[in-house]
C-alpha cells in the first residue's frame, strides 16, 4: 500500500514534504524532548534535594540500621546490621515467598485446571467454583482474611497445640524441631549425592532400554529408593556404629512463647496461602485453555493405541498443551512475585516492607530507595521471563 501510494503520487516539491524525512524529524524531536525531560527532572530533583538539605547518594547503605526484623535468612541484628544488610534480608524474604509460592501454585493450579475438565461432574464443578471465587476477590482482601483467620483461630502460646514429632502450633506460628548437624553429617550428604547421580544414570539407561527394546523399567520406585532410601540406610548404619550425624533441637516452653527449634511466622503462612490459592485460580484457567487447545484427535489416537487416560494426559496431552501454557504461565509467575509486595499489609518483612517501609522512613532517601526497589523487581521479573523463555524454547513445537 505504502509503495503504491508513493509511486502514484506526483514527486513532492521539497524534501520537507517527504513523509519519510518528516517521520525521522519528528522521531528525533520526540527522543530529544524525552531526554530533555529526564535531564530536567533529574537536575531539578538534585537541586531541590540540596536546597532542602535532604541527604542523597547511596552512602546510607553502609550506615547501621538500628532496627530488628522478624524473619532473617542471613545473620542480621540491630547492633551490626547496615541498611544494605536490611535490603538483602528483605530481598531474600521476597525471593523465599516467591519461589515457594511459585512451586505450590504450579501444583495447585495444574491440579485444578485438569480437575475442571474432569468428566466427574462434582470434581469439575468444585474446580469451577474455586476458580470463580478466588480470582474474583481482590488479593489484598484474601490476604487479610488469611491473616485474620490464621491469627484468630490459633491458640495463645501457653495453650500451644501439640501435634507430635516436635511440631507445635500457636498464634506466633508453627514450631518444629531444628536439625543440628554434627561433624560426620557429610556422610549423609555424600549418600544423597550418590543417590542423585545413581538416579540420573539409571533413568538415562532405562530410557535407552525402552527406546531399543520397548521394555519398561520401574523408574519411579528406583528413584525413590536411591534418593530417599540410600541416605536413610546410611543414617541407620551410622547410628548402629554409634555415630550421631543429626540431632534435633526441640522447641521448649519459655516464659512467653516456645523457644528453640524452628519457627514459621504466621505472616509468612498467610502470605504464602493467599498468593498460592489466588494465583492457582489463574493458572488453572491457563492450563484448561492449554489442554483444550490440543485437538481431540490426539487423545482419541492415544486411546486407540491402548494408553490409559492417565498416560494419555501425561504423555500426549500435557506435552502438547505446554506450548500454549508456558507463555501465560510466565505472566502468572511474575504476578505472584510482584503481588508478594502486598506483604506490607500483614507485616511480613519482604523487600517493600523492610526497604521501602522502614529503611525509607529512617533514612528519608525516598528517591534512592524507590529506584533500587523498582530495579530489583524489574531484575527478578526479567530473570523469571528469561528462564521461562529458555524452557519455552525447549517445549515449543520443533518444525521439521
Amino acid at each position: 500500500m505504502q509503495t503504491v501510494v508513493s509511486q502514484t503520487s506526483p514527486p513532492q516539491k521539497s524534501f520537507l514534504y517527504d513523509p519519510k524525512v518528516r517521520g525521522i524529524f519528528y522521531q528525533v524531536v520526540l527522543v530529544a524532548a524525552i531526554v530533555f525531560l529526564f535531564y530536567v527532572a533529574a537536575t531539578n530533583a538534585i537541586e531541590n534535594l540540596q536546597r532542602a538539605k535532604i541527604a542523597s547518594g547511596f552512602g546510607f547503605l553502609n550506615n547501621t540500621a538500628g532496627f530488628d526484623i522478624s524473619q532473617t535468612l542471613i545473620q542480621f541484628s540491630a547492633a551490626g546490621g547496615t541498611y544494605g544488610d536490611a535490603f538483602i534480608v528483605g530481598l531474600l524474604n521476597t525471593l523465599l515467598v516467591s519461589v515457594i509460592g511459585i512451586f505450590f501454585t504450579t501444583i495447585l493450579g495444574f491440579t485444578i485446571g485438569i480437575a475442571r475438565l474432569s468428566k466427574n461432574w462434582m470434581v469439575a464443578k468444585v474446580a469451577m467454583v474455586y476458580v470463580e471465587v478466588l480470582r474474583n476477590i481482590p488479593l489484598l482482601v484474601q490476604l487479610l482474611f488469611w491473616y485474620i483467620a490464621v491469627l484468630g483461630t490459633l491458640p495463645q502460646p501457653r495453650n500451644s497445640l501439640e501435634m507430635g514429632a516436635g511440631f507445635y502450633l500457636n498464634s506466633r506460628g508453627l514450631f518444629m524441631a531444628k536439625p543440628l548437624y554434627a561433624s560426620d553429617a557429610w556422610v549423609l550428604l555424600a549418600a544423597l549425592v550418590v543417590g542423585l547421580v545413581g538416579t540420573f544414570v539409571y533413568r538415562h539407561w532405562a530410557r535407552k532400554q525402552q527406546e531399543q527394546t520397548g521394555r519398561q523399567y520401574p523408574v519411579g520406585k528406583v528413584t525413590l529408593a536411591l534418593v530417599i532410601g540410600l541416605p536413610i540406610l546410611t543414617w541407620i548404619v551410622l547410628a548402629l556404629v554409634g555415630a550421631n550425624p543429626i540431632s534435633f533441637e526441640l522447641p521448649r516452653k519459655g516464659t512467653f512463647n516456645l523457644t528453640g527449634g524452628m519457627q514459621i511466622l504466621p505472616e509468612f503462612v498467610a502470605l504464602l496461602l493467599g498468593l498460592v490459592t489466588y494465583t492457582a485460580a489463574f493458572i488453572a484457567e491457563v492450563v484448561r485453555a492449554g489442554i483444550l487447545a490440543v485437538s481431540k484427535g490426539q487423545s482419541e489416537a492415544a486411546g486407540s493405541l491402548g494408553l490409559t487416560p492417565g498416560q494419555t494426559l501425561r504423555l500426549v496431552v500435557i506435552p502438547q498443551a505446554m506450548r500454549v501454557i508456558v507463555p501465560p504461565l510466565t505472566s502468572q509467575y511474575l504476578n505472584l512475585t510482584k503481588n508478594s509486595s502486598l506483604a506490607v499489609a500483614i507485616g511480613y518483612p519482604d523487600l517493600v516492607q523492610v526497604f521501602m517501609g522502614t529503611v525509607l522512613n529512617q533514612t528519608g532517601q525516598a528517591i534512592e530507595v524507590v529506584v533500587i526497589t523498582m530495579g530489583v523487581y524489574l531484575t527478578i521479573s526479567l530473570l523469571t521471563s528469561f528462564i521461562m523463555n529458555v524452557y519455552n524454547r525447549r517445549v515449543a513445537i520443533v518444525e521439521r
Binding site: A41, N48, A52, G66, F256, G347, G357, T363, G364
Partner: protein, 380 residues
C-alpha cells in the same frame, strides 16, 4: 523556556499537515497521507505531555519557598495528621478532626485566616509522613512526630516547637503477670514501622541483653489490631499513644501499661527546612498558646485582656508593638489563636487531660513555673 518560542511554529506545521490531510481526503483516497496526519497528531500529544510535565517540574522547584504565600493563595492550610490517635489527631463521630496536634493546625489557620476551620487534614501513616512533607503535599506535619537530630539534619525538616514531651512505654496483658519491661525477655512485640519506637525498642533490648521478636506493621491501626488479636505479648509506642490505643482494645481493662519509660520522645510539628518564615509562624503559634496560659489569657477572657495594663499581655495580644507583622501575619495573631482555639492549658485539658477520656496528667507538659518543661519564649 526556549521551547515556548518554538512551540507556535510546531503547531503551525502540524496544522498544515492536518489541513493537507483533509484536503487530500476530499480529492483522492490517499489513505497513506491521512495516516501520517494521525501519526503526527499522536506525537504532538506526546510532546505536549512532555512539555507539560517539564513545566510542572520546574514550577515545583520555584515554589518550594514561601509557604505562607501559597497557603494564603490556596485559602486553606494542609495539615498532615495522624490516621487516628485519640486525643492527638482523630476525626470524631461527626467527622470533625479533634486532638492536641489537630488544634495546633487549627491555631495556625486561625493566626493566618482568623478561621480555625480553614484546614484540610491529610491522614498519614508514620512511614509516609516525612515524604508527604518533603514533597509539599502538606504545609505542616502535626502528627506526634519525634524530633531527632537525623530528621532535623538529613531529612530536610525542621522541628520549630515541641508541643508534647513524651517517652516510649510498653503495654501487656494483665494475665501475663509481667510487672516490668525488664521481664520481657523472649517476648514478641508489635510496633509501627518507620518510627523512632522501632529503633528505641532494638536499643533497649540490646542494652539490657534481652531477646525479643519484633513484628512491624505499616500503620498504627494494623499494629494495635495484631496485638489485640494475640499476635504479640507486648505493644510499644509513646506512652501517650498507649493510653489512647488502650481505649480501642476489645477489653481495655485487661491491659496494663508497664512503668518503664525507655526513651525521650519530644513530639512536635515539623516543617520543610529552608522556609524560615513559615517555621517562625509555626513556632510562635505554639509559643503564643504557652505564653497565654502563663499570663492567664484564656479563650473566654481574651477580649477583656486586650485592655490589660500588663506589658507582657499587651505585647502578646498586639496592642503594643508590631510583633505579628514581623512574621508576615497581623498584630492580633495571638488574639485570633486564643479566641478560636484557646491557650495551651485549655487545649491540653480538653483533648488529653482531665476533660478527655485519656485523663493524662500534665507532668512534663506542665508550665515551667509548675515544674514542667513547657516554657514559652517571651514576646518582645
Amino acid at each position: 523556556m526556549g521551547f515556548d518560542a518554538a512551540s507556535p511554529r510546531w503547531r503551525g506545521t502540524v496544522k498544515n499537515r492536518v489541513r493537507r490531510g483533509l484536503r487530500g481526503n476530499n480529492q483522492l483516497p490517499p489513505s497513506h497521507d491521512v495516516s501520517v496526519g494521525e501519526h503526527t497528531n499522536m506525537k504532538k500529544a506526546l510532546v505536549s505531555i512532555a512539555f507539560g510535565l517539564t513545566a510542572s517540574l520546574l514550577a515545583t522547584g520555584a515554589s518550594a519557598q514561601a509557604t505562607l504565600n501559597s497557603v494564603k493563595q490556596k485559602g486553606f492550610l494542609t495539615c498532615g495528621s495522624n490516621t487516628g490517635l485519640a486525643g492527638f489527631g482523630q476525626p470524631d463521630a461527626q467527622g470533625n478532626w479533634t486532638g492536641l496536634d489537630v488544634d495546633l493546625c487549627r491555631a495556625i489557620a486561625a493566626a493566618i485566616f482568623d478561621d480555625p476551620n480553614k484546614v484540610r487534614f491529610i491522614p498519614l501513616a508514620a512511614k509516609d509522613r516525612f515524604t508527604a512533607l518533603q514533597s509539599g503535599e502538606v504545609d505542616v506535619l502535626s502528627r506526634n512526630s519525634t524530633a531527632t537530630m537525623s530528621r532535623d539534619t538529613q531529612l530536610g525538616l525542621d522541628f520549630p516547637a515541641i508541643n508534647y514531651f513524651d517517652g516510649q512505654g510498653f503495654m501487656v496483658r494483665k494475665k501475663l503477670g509481667v510487672a516490668s519491661a525488664k521481664e520481657l525477655n523472649g517476648a514478641s512485640i508489635c510496633t509501627q514501622q518507620g518510627t523512632t519506637t522501632e529503633l528505641n525498642l532494638a536499643d533497649y533490648f540490646r542494652a539490657n541483653n534481652m531477646k525479643y521478636e519484633v513484628v512491624a506493621f505499616a500503620t498504627s491501626d494494623e499494629t494495635f489490631k495484631a496485638y489485640d488479636a494475640g499476635r504479640c505479648d507486648a505493644f510499644t509506642t509513646d506512652a501517650s499513644g498507649l493510653y489512647a490505643e488502650r481505649l480501642r482494645a476489645s477489653a481495655p481493662d485487661d491491659h496494663i501499661v508497664l512503668p518503664e519509660i525507655i526513651s525521650k520522645e519530644p513530639l512536635g510539628p515539623a516543617v520543610r527546612h529552608g522556609d524560615n518564615q513559615w517555621g517562625d509562624i509555626v513556632r510562635w503559634t505554639h509559643m503564643a498558646m504557652l505564653n497565654a496560659e502563663e499570663l492567664g489569657v484564656t479563650k473566654a477572657n481574651v477580649d477583656q485582656m486586650k485592655t490589660s495594663e500588663n506589658p507582657e499581655i499587651k505585647r502578646l495580644l498586639g496592642t503594643e508593638g508590631k510583633f505579628g507583622e514581623a512574621t508576615g501575619l497581623t498584630n492580633d495573631w495571638a488574639v485570633r489563636i486564643i479566641k478560636h482555639v484557646g491557650n495551651y492549658g485549655e487545649v491540653f485539658e480538653k483533648n488529653v487531660g482531665e476533660g478527655s477520656r485519656l485523663k493524662i496528667k500534665r507532668g512534663q507538659n506542665a508550665q515551667w513555673t509548675k515544674g514542667g518543661l513547657q516554657y514559652g519564649i517571651p514576646v518582645r
